[in-house]
Symmetry: C2
Subunit: 487 residues, 2 copies
Amino acid sequence: MTDTAIERQTRLIQAVRTALGEKAVVTDPDDIAPWLDDWRGRYHGASAAILSPDTTEGVATIVRLAGEFGVPLVPQGGNTSMVGGATPPADGSALILSLRRMNRIRSINPAAKLAVVEAGVILETLHDAVNAQGMRFPLTLGARGSATIGGLTATNAGGTQVLRFGTMRSLVAGIEAVLPDGAIHDGLAALKKDNRGYDLTHLLVGAEGTLGVVTAVTLRLVPAVHDRATGWLAVESPAAALKALRVMEARSGSAIESFELVPKIALDLVLQHIPGTRPPFAGAHSWLVLVDYVSQSGGDGPAQAALEDLMQGVLATGLAQDGVVAASEAQAAAFWRLRDSISEAERAEGPTMAHDISVPVDAMPDFMLHAAAQVEAAFPGVHASAFGHLGDGNVHFHVNAPRGVDAARWRAEVGEPASHMVYDLVVAAGGSISAEHGIGQMKRGELARLSSPARMAALRAIKTGLDPHGLMNPGKLLALAESPSAP
Amino acid sequence: MTDTAIERQTRLIQAVRTALGEKAVVTDPDDIAPWLDDWRGRYHGASAAILSPDTTEGVATIVRLAGEFGVPLVPQGGNTSMVGGATPPADGSALILSLRRMNRIRSINPAAKLAVVEAGVILETLHDAVNAQGMRFPLTLGARGSATIGGLTATNAGGTQVLRFGTMRSLVAGIEAVLPDGAIHDGLAALKKDNRGYDLTHLLVGAEGTLGVVTAVTLRLVPAVHDRATGWLAVESPAAALKALRVMEARSGSAIESFELVPKIALDLVLQHIPGTRPPFAGAHSWLVLVDYVSQSGGDGPAQAALEDLMQGVLATGLAQDGVVAASEAQAAAFWRLRDSISEAERAEGPTMAHDISVPVDAMPDFMLHAAAQVEAAFPGVHASAFGHLGDGNVHFHVNAPRGVDAARWRAEVGEPASHMVYDLVVAAGGSISAEHGIGQMKRGELARLSSPARMAALRAIKTGLDPHGLMNPGKLLALAESPSAP
C-alpha cells in the first residue's frame, strides 16, 4: 500500500463515520481479526476497518464514498465462503463492507409465498421465522447458523436439498442491490413475467459481490413440511443409484428432496474418525445413498411408510441391495450426521483436495468412476472418490493423500497437479469446475485457464462495464489487468 | 446514410459472399421486402441485404466481418415481434442477419428430457418433432407457425401456457451464441448447477439480440400430454377468478396449464366480429376464464372428468357461477378460438392501444379494475379492459377508442396519453411495462422514461461493455448516445 492509498482509506473511514455514525465503523484490530481469514484457514486478509451500515441507504453512501476515494470494498456476510470469496486482499488495499447489521426480515407473506429479507439475515434465523408462519424456505446447508442471505444470494448457494426447489437462483424472486456507482437498484417486486431488458436479478445472483452489493432479496417460500422421513439405500454403483432415483421420482413426484451418494470409503472414514457414529447397515456395501422424503400435504400418508414403500419398490427391481428408514427423528439426525461428517473425517485422515464439480446429470455416474480411475492411475497412492448431490449432477470429488505424507509437500507436488487433472476431465465432459461454491480467490486461476476465450472476454466486459474502477470485491472471480485506480 | 457507410456495407456483403458463398447473401429487393416491416405494420425498415448463414461458424464470420467494417446487424427469426424488435432501422444503416437457415434440431434426448435446437427452427416444427418422440415442449403461442426458437429465446417469450412450466427463461437449459466480438460462446451443456461467474445464459435470454446472436439452445422437455380438457368458467370478478385458480391448484397440483381471463366486452366483440363463433354460456357473465387441464400420467383419470370435478368444487364454493367443459377436441378448439380472436375482433371494432403488462399476481385483480376506472375517467369515451394470463400476473390491458373516430388522430390525441397513464399506473404498482413482448423499438422511450436511473445505467453499462460499437440490433431496447462508429 502506498501512502496515498492509506490516506484515501483514512479519509473514507472518516467520511463514513461522519455520514453514518460511530456504529457503522469498526477499527479495533481485535474486532476485525475474526473476519480477516476464511473459515478453512487458507486465506489471510488485512483490512483497516469494517464498514457496517444498517440500511440500504447506508450501503449506498459507503459505495458512493468508496468510489470517490477510490477504495475497494469486500462485501461480507457470514464469511463462510468455501473459495475465499469474502476474505479481503492480504495487502490491506480494501476495506470490509459487512452486511451483518442489515438483519431485518422485512415481510413474510404466506399467501403470496414470498418473504423480503435483508442481506445480513442468517439462514437459520430465516428458517425459524418462516416456519413460525407455517411456511418453509427450502434451501439449507451445513453453515446455516452463520451463512447470510446476502452471501447465499451472491454465491448462488446450493446445499443438500436442491433436488426439488433448486439453488438460490430458483428461490430469488427479486433483488435490491447497490450498484458500483452507488445507485440503489430496487428490483424486489416479485413479477412472474418481466421483459424489461437484461435480467439484473440473474446477473447479480452468483456474481460474488463483484458487480454490486446485494442488500435485500424477495425469496420464494414453499409449504411447510407436513411429514419427513430419512433413509439409507445400499446400491452397487452410482449408475444404479441414479436409476433408483428415477424410479422413486416417477412414483412420488417431487417428494424426494435429498439424494446424497456416499461411497464406502467415505463412510468408513466417518465411522473411524467421528465419535458415536454407527453404520446404517450390518453388511458392507460399495455405495450408499441418503434419501430424504418430504410430504407437504399429507395426502400420501405418513412419510415413513411412503419412503419404505418406495424403497421396497427399488429393492424389488434389483437396483438396490438394502434399505433402511429412520424410525425416529433422532435416528434421522444420526443418518444425516454420517453424511455431514465426511469432510471432517477426511481432514482427520490426512490431506484432501476437494473439488466441487458438475457434469450433466446422466453423465455423472460414468464420470465419477472413470475420473477416479484416471486420477488414481496418474498419481499412484492417492485415493479418489466422490460424494454428494447425484441428482443435481453435482458431486464433491475428493483426492485423498496416502497416510503419513507431509501435507504441504503433498499438496504442492501431488495435490495441485491432481486437481488440474480433475478439472481438465470435468471440462472435457462439458461440466463446470464450480457447481455450487463459486470461484472466489481459490478457483480464479482455474477459471481463467479452463474457460473459453469467449466466456472470459464476456465476463471481463460485464465486469468492466458495471465496475470500471474495479472496486467491488477485487481479486474475486476475475483478475483484472490493473490494480484499482482512483477515478 | 453517408457514402462511406454505403461503401462499408458493400464491402461487408462482398466479404460474406466470399467467405460463405452465394446462398448466404440475399440482395434481390423482392426477396428482402417481406422482412422489412413488422407484422403489425407499424415499423418500416430498409436493408440492402439479408445475410443468411447456415452454421454457427457462419454467424461468427458475419459478426466478425461486420465488426471489421463497422456495419450494424439486426438478427431476425420469424419476424413476429410485437414491439418492432426484428425490424431494421428505416435509414438502411443496418443489414438483416437471418437465422432461418440455421434450422436443425441437433438432438432430442427423451431420457434426459432435453433437446438441442438451432435458432431458426420454427416452434411448431419443434413441437411436432418432440411429440414424435413421446415428449413435449410446453411453450406455445399464436405465432407458433412462424416464430423461431432463436427469437423466442432472445425475447424470453411467454404465451398462453406459462402457468406450469414458465416462460422461455425457465425452459432454456443452455445456450450457444455469437458474441459481439465474433467469438462463439458454447454454453449448451445442461448443468443443473454451475457457478462459474456471471450467468451468460440468463443474460442472453431476453436481451433481444442486443448482446449477441443466439445460434442454438438446449431446451427442457416435459412428458407428453396424456389427456387434456378445456373449459370455461363464469365468474363475477378478477378477484374471484384468482381465488378459483388457487382452489383448483390446491386440488390438482400443477395440472392447470392455462387460466385465461376474458371480460364480457371482449367476448362480445369476438362474437360480433368473428364469423362462426358461439357464446360458451346461455346467460351473460361479467368475466369468463378459459381453463386448460393437462394430465401427464393419466393417474388422475380422464382429464374431462377431472376438470369437471374441479369446476364443481369451485361452483360449490360460490367463486364461480357457471362452468362448461368441452366434450370434444373440436369444441375445445372452438373455446380456444374465442380467446385467440380477441385482438382481431378489437381491430375490427376500431383503434386499440394494447399494453402487455404485469404486476405481482395477487395485486392484479385490483389493479385491473382500478386502472380501467382511472383511464376511463381521464379519457371520456374510451373503454379499458384487460384479458389474459391472470395466473402469471400478466394481462393485456387494452384501451379501445369510441366508434367512428379517426384512428390516427385518436391515437395521437387520446391513445398515446392514455398509454402513458397505463404505464404510469403499472410502475406505481411495482409492475413491469413489458411482461412478455419485450421492449424492441416500441417501448424504448417508455422504458427510459419509467425506469430508475440505476436500472438504465446498469443496462447501458452492460450493453456498452459487451457491444462497445453498438453493432448488435441497434435502436432496440436501449438508445445509445451515438450512432455506431467504425472501430
